[in-house]
Protein backbone atom coordinates (compact mmCIF):
# COMPACT_ATOMS: atom_id res chain seq x y z
CA UNK A 1 0.00 0.00 0.00
CA UNK A 2 1.46 3.30 -1.08
CA UNK A 3 0.36 6.58 0.40
CA UNK A 4 0.39 9.81 -1.51
CA UNK A 5 2.74 12.71 -1.11
CA UNK A 6 1.58 16.27 -1.54
CA UNK A 7 1.35 18.12 -4.82
CA UNK A 8 4.64 19.98 -4.28
CA UNK A 9 6.46 16.71 -3.98
CA UNK A 10 4.78 15.37 -7.09
CA UNK A 11 6.06 18.32 -9.05
CA UNK A 12 9.52 17.90 -7.56
CA UNK A 13 9.78 14.15 -8.07
CA UNK A 14 7.81 13.47 -11.22
CA UNK A 15 7.56 16.86 -12.94
CA UNK A 16 10.25 16.04 -15.50
CA UNK A 17 8.98 12.52 -16.18
CA UNK A 18 5.44 13.76 -16.72
CA UNK A 19 6.66 16.58 -18.90
CA UNK A 20 8.79 14.33 -21.07
CA UNK A 21 6.05 11.75 -21.36
CA UNK A 22 3.65 14.44 -22.58
CA UNK A 23 6.21 16.12 -24.82
CA UNK A 24 7.10 13.00 -26.79
CA UNK A 25 3.44 12.20 -27.33
CA UNK A 26 2.26 15.65 -28.38
CA UNK A 27 5.49 17.23 -29.71
CA UNK A 28 4.68 20.67 -28.30
CA UNK A 29 6.45 22.17 -25.29
CA UNK A 30 3.73 24.64 -24.18
CA UNK A 31 1.03 22.03 -24.54
CA UNK A 32 3.12 19.52 -22.59
CA UNK A 33 3.47 22.01 -19.71
CA UNK A 34 -0.28 22.60 -19.68
CA UNK A 35 -0.90 18.87 -19.65
CA UNK A 36 1.38 18.42 -16.62
CA UNK A 37 -0.55 21.14 -14.82
CA UNK A 38 -3.93 19.62 -15.70
CA UNK A 39 -2.70 16.23 -14.59
CA UNK A 40 -1.58 17.44 -11.18
CA UNK A 41 -4.82 19.38 -10.67
CA UNK A 42 -6.85 16.31 -11.58
CA UNK A 43 -4.65 14.22 -9.29
CA UNK A 44 -5.32 16.59 -6.39
CA UNK A 45 -9.05 16.17 -6.91
CA UNK A 46 -8.76 12.43 -7.27
CA UNK A 47 -6.51 11.85 -4.25
CA UNK A 48 -9.22 9.98 -2.40
CA UNK A 49 -9.59 7.55 -5.27
CA UNK A 50 -5.94 6.49 -5.26
CA UNK A 51 -6.07 2.83 -4.36
CA UNK A 52 -2.37 2.37 -3.82
CA UNK A 53 -2.20 -0.57 -6.20
CA UNK A 54 0.43 1.13 -8.32
CA UNK A 55 3.28 3.47 -7.61
CA UNK A 56 2.56 7.16 -7.43
CA UNK A 57 4.38 7.79 -10.68
CA UNK A 58 2.42 5.11 -12.55
CA UNK A 59 -0.80 6.57 -11.19
CA UNK A 60 0.12 10.07 -12.33
CA UNK A 61 1.22 8.88 -15.79
CA UNK A 62 -2.12 7.08 -16.08
CA UNK A 63 -3.96 10.35 -15.44
CA UNK A 64 -1.69 12.13 -17.92
CA UNK A 65 -2.46 9.57 -20.64
CA UNK A 66 -6.16 10.33 -20.27
CA UNK A 67 -5.49 14.05 -20.45
CA UNK A 68 -3.48 13.62 -23.65
CA UNK A 69 -6.22 11.59 -25.32
CA UNK A 70 -8.82 14.16 -24.21
CA UNK A 71 -6.69 16.82 -25.81
CA UNK A 72 -6.54 14.97 -29.13
CA UNK A 73 -10.28 14.40 -29.07
CA UNK A 74 -11.07 18.05 -28.45
CA UNK A 75 -8.46 19.77 -30.54
CA UNK A 76 -9.41 21.24 -33.86
CA UNK A 77 -7.03 20.14 -36.56
CA UNK A 78 -6.04 22.05 -39.62
CA UNK A 79 -6.92 20.67 -43.00
CA UNK A 80 -3.79 18.94 -44.13
CA UNK A 81 -2.89 18.14 -47.68
CA UNK A 82 -3.35 14.53 -48.48
CA UNK A 83 0.08 12.99 -48.86
CA UNK A 84 -1.16 9.96 -50.71
CA UNK A 85 -0.08 11.24 -54.14
CA UNK A 86 3.46 11.87 -52.91
CA UNK A 87 3.48 8.45 -51.32
CA UNK A 88 2.37 6.81 -54.57
CA UNK A 89 5.42 8.40 -56.23
CA UNK A 90 7.66 7.03 -53.54
CA UNK A 91 6.29 3.56 -54.09
CA UNK A 92 7.33 3.90 -57.72
CA UNK A 93 10.82 4.71 -56.55
CA UNK A 94 10.88 1.59 -54.40
CA UNK A 95 9.45 -0.94 -56.86
CA UNK A 96 9.69 -1.52 -60.60
CA UNK A 97 6.69 -2.08 -62.86
CA UNK A 98 6.57 -5.80 -62.07
CA UNK A 99 6.61 -5.13 -58.31
CA UNK A 100 10.24 -6.08 -57.60
CA UNK A 101 12.45 -4.02 -55.28
CA UNK A 102 14.33 -1.30 -57.12
CA UNK A 103 16.35 -0.40 -54.05
CA UNK A 104 18.85 -2.46 -52.10
CA UNK A 105 19.09 -2.34 -48.35
CA UNK A 106 21.27 -4.07 -45.80
CA UNK A 107 20.44 -6.12 -42.73
CA UNK A 108 20.17 -4.19 -39.44
CA UNK A 109 22.57 -5.84 -37.06
CA UNK A 110 21.33 -6.54 -33.56
CA UNK A 111 18.66 -3.83 -33.72
CA UNK A 112 17.24 -4.57 -30.27
CA UNK A 113 20.42 -3.25 -28.70
CA UNK A 114 19.42 0.14 -30.06
CA UNK A 115 16.37 0.17 -27.83
CA UNK A 116 18.66 0.81 -24.86
CA UNK A 117 20.42 3.71 -26.48
CA UNK A 118 19.47 7.32 -25.92
CA UNK A 119 20.74 8.43 -29.35
CA UNK A 120 18.59 5.84 -31.08
CA UNK A 121 15.46 7.28 -29.47
CA UNK A 122 16.48 10.77 -30.47
CA UNK A 123 16.70 9.66 -34.10
CA UNK A 124 13.47 7.69 -33.78
CA UNK A 125 11.73 10.78 -32.53
CA UNK A 126 13.15 12.96 -35.29
CA UNK A 127 12.01 10.39 -37.86
CA UNK A 128 8.43 10.55 -36.58
CA UNK A 129 8.49 14.33 -36.63
CA UNK A 130 9.73 14.36 -40.21
CA UNK A 131 6.95 12.20 -41.59
CA UNK A 132 4.65 14.12 -43.93
CA UNK A 133 2.16 16.03 -41.75
CA UNK A 134 -0.85 13.75 -42.12
CA UNK A 135 1.16 10.58 -41.69
CA UNK A 136 2.82 12.05 -38.61
CA UNK A 137 -0.57 12.82 -37.09
CA UNK A 138 -1.83 9.37 -37.91
CA UNK A 139 1.25 7.72 -36.42
CA UNK A 140 0.98 9.85 -33.29
CA UNK A 141 -2.71 9.19 -32.72
CA UNK A 142 -2.92 5.54 -33.65
CA UNK A 143 0.53 4.19 -32.83
CA UNK A 144 1.87 6.39 -30.05
CA UNK A 145 -1.42 7.16 -28.31
CA UNK A 146 -3.40 4.06 -29.19
CA UNK A 147 -6.62 5.83 -30.12
CA UNK A 148 -9.19 3.40 -31.58
CA UNK A 149 -9.22 3.04 -35.39
CA UNK A 150 -12.71 4.44 -35.98
CA UNK A 151 -11.95 7.48 -33.87
CA UNK A 152 -8.66 8.13 -35.68
CA UNK A 153 -10.41 7.93 -39.06
CA UNK A 154 -13.04 10.41 -37.88
CA UNK A 155 -10.52 12.83 -36.37
CA UNK A 156 -8.26 12.81 -39.42
CA UNK A 157 -11.07 12.58 -41.95
CA UNK A 158 -9.85 9.31 -43.44
CA UNK A 159 -12.68 7.83 -45.46
CA UNK A 160 -12.13 4.10 -44.98
CA UNK A 161 -10.30 1.79 -42.62
CA UNK A 162 -8.54 0.42 -45.65
CA UNK A 163 -7.13 3.86 -46.43
CA UNK A 164 -5.88 4.13 -42.88
CA UNK A 165 -4.07 0.80 -43.21
CA UNK A 166 -2.41 1.96 -46.41
CA UNK A 167 -1.39 5.25 -44.80
CA UNK A 168 0.04 3.46 -41.76
CA UNK A 169 1.98 1.19 -44.07
CA UNK A 170 3.45 4.26 -45.84
CA UNK A 171 4.33 5.84 -42.51
CA UNK A 172 6.17 2.68 -41.44
CA UNK A 173 8.04 2.43 -44.74
CA UNK A 174 9.12 6.05 -44.31
CA UNK A 175 10.22 5.36 -40.75
CA UNK A 176 12.19 2.38 -42.04
CA UNK A 177 13.99 4.54 -44.60
CA UNK A 178 14.67 7.24 -42.03
CA UNK A 179 16.02 4.83 -39.38
CA UNK A 180 18.18 3.17 -42.01
CA UNK A 181 19.71 6.45 -43.18
CA UNK A 182 19.86 8.08 -39.77
CA UNK A 183 20.93 5.20 -37.56
CA UNK A 184 21.57 1.73 -38.92
CA UNK A 185 23.41 2.33 -42.18
CA UNK A 186 24.10 6.04 -42.40
CA UNK A 187 26.61 5.65 -45.20
CA UNK A 188 24.58 3.38 -47.46
CA UNK A 189 23.66 4.93 -50.77
CA UNK A 190 19.93 4.68 -50.97
CA UNK A 191 17.97 5.90 -53.92
CA UNK A 192 15.72 8.67 -52.75
Amino acid sequence: MTTLSNADTWLELYGNDLYRHAFFRVHDADLAEDLVQETLLAALKAREGFAGHSSEKTWLIGILKHKIIDHFRKSKREQLVDDIAIEADRQQDRFDASGHWKVQFAEWHNPDKSLEQQQFWEIFNICIKHLPARLAELYTLRELNDLPTDEVCKLLDISTTNNMWVMLSRARMRLRDCLENGWFNPTSQQEQ
Binding site: A7, F23, Q118, E122
Partner: protein
Protein backbone atom coordinates in the same frame (compact mmCIF):
# COMPACT_ATOMS: atom_id res chain seq x y z
CA UNK B 1 2.55 -15.55 -56.48
CA UNK B 2 2.64 -12.26 -54.55
CA UNK B 3 5.08 -9.58 -55.73
CA UNK B 4 7.60 -7.87 -53.43
CA UNK B 5 5.45 -4.75 -53.56
CA UNK B 6 2.38 -6.66 -52.39
CA UNK B 7 4.27 -8.51 -49.67
CA UNK B 8 5.83 -5.31 -48.32
CA UNK B 9 2.42 -3.62 -48.26
CA UNK B 10 0.84 -6.52 -46.40
CA UNK B 11 3.56 -6.95 -43.79
CA UNK B 12 3.70 -3.21 -43.11
CA UNK B 13 -0.07 -3.10 -42.57
CA UNK B 14 0.09 -5.93 -40.05
CA UNK B 15 -1.00 -6.09 -37.20
CA UNK B 16 -3.48 -3.25 -37.82
CA UNK B 17 -4.96 -5.22 -40.65
CA UNK B 18 -5.23 -8.88 -39.81
CA UNK B 19 -4.13 -11.15 -42.63
CA UNK B 20 -6.32 -13.83 -44.16
CA UNK B 21 -5.07 -17.40 -44.29
CA UNK B 22 -4.49 -17.05 -48.05
CA UNK B 23 -2.43 -13.90 -47.52
CA UNK B 24 -0.40 -15.48 -44.73
CA UNK B 25 0.36 -18.47 -46.92
CA UNK B 26 1.27 -16.23 -49.86
CA UNK B 27 3.63 -14.21 -47.68
CA UNK B 28 5.25 -17.31 -46.21
CA UNK B 29 5.95 -18.76 -49.63
CA UNK B 30 7.35 -15.48 -50.90
CA UNK B 31 9.59 -15.00 -47.86
CA UNK B 32 11.11 -18.46 -48.33
CA UNK B 33 12.67 -17.39 -51.59
CA UNK B 34 13.06 -13.61 -51.18
CA UNK B 35 15.94 -12.28 -49.10
CA UNK B 36 15.03 -8.61 -49.36
CA UNK B 37 11.41 -9.09 -48.31
CA UNK B 38 12.51 -11.27 -45.37
CA UNK B 39 14.86 -8.50 -44.33
CA UNK B 40 12.14 -5.89 -44.78
CA UNK B 41 9.73 -7.97 -42.68
CA UNK B 42 12.26 -8.28 -39.84
CA UNK B 43 12.78 -4.52 -39.95
CA UNK B 44 9.04 -3.87 -39.82
CA UNK B 45 8.74 -6.12 -36.78
CA UNK B 46 11.55 -4.20 -35.13
CA UNK B 47 9.80 -0.89 -35.83
CA UNK B 48 6.66 -2.26 -34.19
CA UNK B 49 8.68 -3.31 -31.11
CA UNK B 50 10.39 0.07 -30.94
CA UNK B 51 7.07 1.89 -31.24
CA UNK B 52 5.56 -0.14 -28.40
CA UNK B 53 8.54 0.46 -26.17
CA UNK B 54 8.45 4.16 -26.87
CA UNK B 55 4.70 4.39 -26.42
CA UNK B 56 4.78 2.79 -22.98
CA UNK B 57 7.47 5.00 -21.50
CA UNK B 58 8.83 7.75 -23.73
CA UNK B 59 10.11 9.51 -20.61
CA UNK B 60 12.42 6.58 -19.82
CA UNK B 61 13.65 6.17 -23.41
CA UNK B 62 14.92 9.75 -23.43
CA UNK B 63 15.62 10.49 -19.80
CA UNK B 64 18.94 12.27 -20.34
CA UNK B 65 17.58 14.69 -22.85
CA UNK B 66 18.38 18.16 -21.53
CA UNK B 67 16.12 19.87 -24.01
CA UNK B 68 13.13 18.26 -22.40
CA UNK B 69 13.04 19.31 -18.78
CA UNK B 70 10.22 21.15 -17.12
CA UNK B 71 11.46 24.77 -16.98
CA UNK B 72 11.62 26.70 -13.70
CA UNK B 73 9.11 29.14 -15.08
CA UNK B 74 6.66 26.36 -15.82
CA UNK B 75 7.23 24.88 -12.37
CA UNK B 76 6.36 28.18 -10.72
CA UNK B 77 3.26 28.55 -12.84
CA UNK B 78 2.07 25.04 -12.07
CA UNK B 79 2.74 25.49 -8.35
CA UNK B 80 0.60 28.62 -8.34
CA UNK B 81 -2.20 26.80 -10.12
CA UNK B 82 -2.06 23.94 -7.62
CA UNK B 83 -2.51 26.20 -4.59
CA UNK B 84 -5.04 28.57 -6.05
Amino acid sequence: MLSCKEVSELVSQYPERLLSFREQLGIKMHLMICKLCSRFTRQMKFIARATNTFMDHPEDCLDHSHATQLSDKARERIKKALYR
